[in-house]
């Protein structure tokens, strides 16, 4: 049997394999580049980029929880100009796709970033309407069906690259949000962003995070993420990038069977910097063991 193919296509873009990095957990690839050969990755999804520099929230910004972690970084980033200047040339040295996570406080700000990136050498945009750690924008857009559609539609006008919309899991009906994004013109969906959570230092009687509430990520949330990917795959026809607690190749295959075309590793990188490449290796093994020639055969392959 010849080597199985891991290539997938998301909204017209060919990825050498389905494995990406989750926004905000991998910087712009520079730091993890010391541990992981970036050429091996399907795509690098960079941290959220806003029109102007954002400082983010005060520290502590992280709390460990059972099988997961809370973060309240709050989209600290140097702004789209610095990103274009420093990070695109760096990433373009590698044979991988570049997906830029776009953030803003208003619809106009989201559009500004998309417009500014329109002529840049990047492969896709990921619209982040699901960050729970900022007061304006972020999750405020991601939990209201109409706003999801509105912001997607607005950004779509400026976007020259395929547009992924990243959904928030902090909603009653994820399928409805997915439909709203698709109606707004999303070419693909990614999910899930973090679930809002909290941790308390009982001896100081204070929240562990300076921001009180943060976003929960890591293996603890995997069953929720998987359920949402499955529900969204039943509801819409655009490709899905699944994430939430993926640590191993087994986890990644679960997401693909549930309906994801691509998968992303976030918190998993912190726990095992080699997670992404180990997942790619496992995918090859899984396909060989199961006598499957093309990874596309397992997407949405769940038998009910």
């Amino acid at each position: 049997m010849k080597k199985s193919s891991l290539e997938v296509n998301i909204a017209g873009i060919n990825l050498k394999n389905p494995v990406m990095t989750a926004s905000g957990t991998f910087g712009s690839g520079r730091e993890y580049g010391e541990f992981v050969d970036l050429n091996k990755l399907g795509a690098v999804v960079v941290k959220g980029v806003s029109p102007t520099p954002w400082k983010g929230n005060p520290t502590p910004r992280v709390a460990e929880t059972h099988g997961g972690m809370l973060n309240s970084v709050g989209l600290q980033n140097p702004g789209v100009d610095a990103f274009i200047k420093n990070d695109i040339p760096f990433l373009r040295q590698y044979d991988t796709k570049i997906i830029v996570n776009v953030v803003g406080k208003t619809i106009e700000e989201y559009c500004q970033v998309a417009e500014r990136l329109a002529t840049e050498d990047i492969d896709m945009l990921e619209l982040n309407i699901s960050c729970p750690n900022v007061k304006e924008g972020g999750v405020a857009f991601g939990t209201d069906r109409n706003k999801v559609e509105e912001v997607t539609k607005a950004v779509k006008k400026y976007a020259k690259q395929p547009l992924i919309v990243k959904l928030s899991p902090n909603v009653t009906d994820i399928a409805e949000m997915a439909k709203a994004a698709v109606e707004g013109g999303a070419d693909a969906l990614s999910l899930i962003n973090t679930l809002t959570g909290m941790a308390i230092d009982i001896h100081r009687k204070r929240p562990v995070l300076a921001n009180v509430i943060g976003g929960l990520s890591g293996p603890a949330i995997k069953p929720i993420a998987l359920r949402m990917v499955y529900q969204v795959a039943q509801a819409v026809d655009v490709p899905i990038i699944g994430m939430g607690g993926i640590m191993t190749g087994e986890d990644a295959i679960e997401f693909m069977l549930a309906g994801a075309t691509g998968i992303a590793v976030g918190t998993g990188n912190f726990i095992n910097p080699m997670a992404t490449v180990e997942i790619i290796e496992y995918m090859e093994k899984y396909l060989t063991d199961h006598n499957i020639e093309d990874i596309n055969e397992i997407i949405n392959g769940l038998i009910i």
Partner: protein, 252 residues
């Protein structure tokens, strides 16, 4: 990521442990003020624990760590057996910058911030005074003395040396120096910053912050740093630090 062997892991004082790791690379790259990330291999506690390099023995490939058991992660760490393997990332971060032309070094340590200063004192040239403050049980005093440094101790309970804090002791001794290196709890660092500024002695301070990645990618471990262009920006303790110049640090 390195899979290294734990040569030793034992208690040296109440709630304080010494761990010796065996790894050529680790010992050869372990410069003063850098730290390692230790992976606990526990399903509940996933994030690595940052611990400073206390001392390296390059010849015998040993890296020495001294850590306090303060929570669940360090508790798990303390239960690791000798001979077991441990996943380690590092050495990480930017350590102390040693200016070989400097004559009079002043090293100020507080509590569990003392260990990383040992390798530093070993490498410093010139005359070195070491001032250490503890709540009660001093650690590593003999180790510093063995290096030929002049060591002064303050304890809050007065059980050893000066009763009170280390700044009082510095003032009492009317210490002067050309360069200060310090690591310890935030209130102490802040006091060192104030004192050294008054004395007009440049100082390097090693900061601590809760971390996730440990390598600069996730931005959870930031601290406020003065910049030229802007008023301030958040820099990463793990990657841009943990050692910063006194005048860069903004205290909250």
């Amino acid at each position: 990521m390195r899979n290294v062997i734990i040569e030793k892991n034992h208690k040296i004082a109440p709630d304080i442990y010494e761990m010796i790791l065996l790894s050529k690379e680790l010992s050869h790259e372990g410069f003063p003020g850098k730290f390692v990330n230790l992976y606990l291999n526990d399903g509940a506690h996933l994030l690595p624990r940052p611990i400073s390099i206390c001392e390296v023995d390059r010849e015998n490939h040993r890296t020495r760590l001294i850590y306090a058991v303060v929570g669940k992660g360090t508790k798990i760490l303390s239960s690791k057996k000798e001979g077991e393997k441990l996943k380690v990332m590092g050495p990480l971060g930017n350590g102390f910058k040693i200016d070989e032309k400097i004559d009079r070094n002043l090293v100020i340590g507080g509590g569990i911030g003392t260990p990383p200063l040992l390798e530093l004192v070993k490498q410093l040239k010139g005359d070195t005074k070491v001032y250490l403050g503890f709540r009660e049980n001093p650690i590593l005093v003999e180790d510093f003395e063995k290096l030929g440094a002049e060591v002064h101790i303050a304890t809050e309970d007065g059980s050893q040396g000066h009763k009170g804090n280390v700044i009082e002791l510095l003032e009492k001794h009317d210490v002067n120096a050309d360069s200060i290196y310090s690591c310890g709890p935030k209130p102490m660092l802040r006091a060192v910053a104030k004192w050294s500024r008054e004395k007009n002695i440049p100082a390097q301070l090693s900061l601590e912050e809760r971390m996730a990645c440990g390598i600069g990618a996730c931005l959870v471990c930031t601290c406020k740093i003065n910049t030229e262009d802007e008023k301030w920006e958040y820099k990463r303790v793990c990657k841009d630090g943990p050692v910063f110049l006194r005048d860069e640090v903004i205290w909250e």
